[in-house]
Amino acid sequence: MARIAGVNIPTGKRVPIALTYITGIGPSKAKEIIEAVGVDGTRRVNELSDAEVLSIREYIDANLTVEGDLRRERQMNVKRLMDLGCYRGLRHRRNLPVRGQRTHTNARTRKGPAKAIAGKKK
């Protein structure tokens, strides 16, 4: 068991893959961490020594925003737009696409599952 950045416990996988289980770390960030710390990418998390795990943890703490902090930061960015009363903020409030996409059809990611409209059949 290796605890990195709070609650995340990726184990039997190769180090770069395991690191992507942390919110805010994708494949390229994982590679960056490994190179900075000097761990071979083919090794697995349970083969790492405590010192190596520690140095990974320290690198993340020092250089990256991850997990709760990242989520809070994102939320603050959205909240800032909403409080400002600008167009992007209004779109966030309505849960509609923010960047000018069409909403006549599609936009299901933001709008959620399609709602049936009563009495719409011919």
Partner: protein, 93 residues
């Protein structure tokens, strides 16, 4: 693509002139009516109130520091949407 930096921010000249006039007169509470939704909000506009036209009327916008760099039009919505009639029926149930 974003605008080239060497051009500087775009502002319609009359907006600058009006803002300056209000600044000099000292009545910073006055609403400055503008139609130029495309103009960039500049640092010297902070603290002034603009009436930004939305095609029907002038929406009062109090310019704050955070708005710098955005366009006036972003603060004056042009569409009114009250939802669909069917949506309301569905909610009542």
């Amino acid at each position: 693509m974003s605008r080239s930096v060497w051009k500087g921010p775009f502002v319609d000249a009359y907006v600058l002139k009006k803002a300056e006039a209000v600044r000099e007169s000292g009545r910073t509470n006055d609403v400055i009516k503008i139609w130029s939704r495309r103009s960039t909000i500049l640092p010297q506009f902070v603290g002034l109130t603009f009436g930004v036209y939305n095609g029907q009327k002038h929406i009062p916008v109090n310019v704050t520091e955070e708005m710098i760099g955005q366009k006036f039009g972003e603060y004056s919505p042009t569409r009114t949407y009250y939802g669909h009639a069917a949506d309301k029926k569905a909610k009542r149930k």
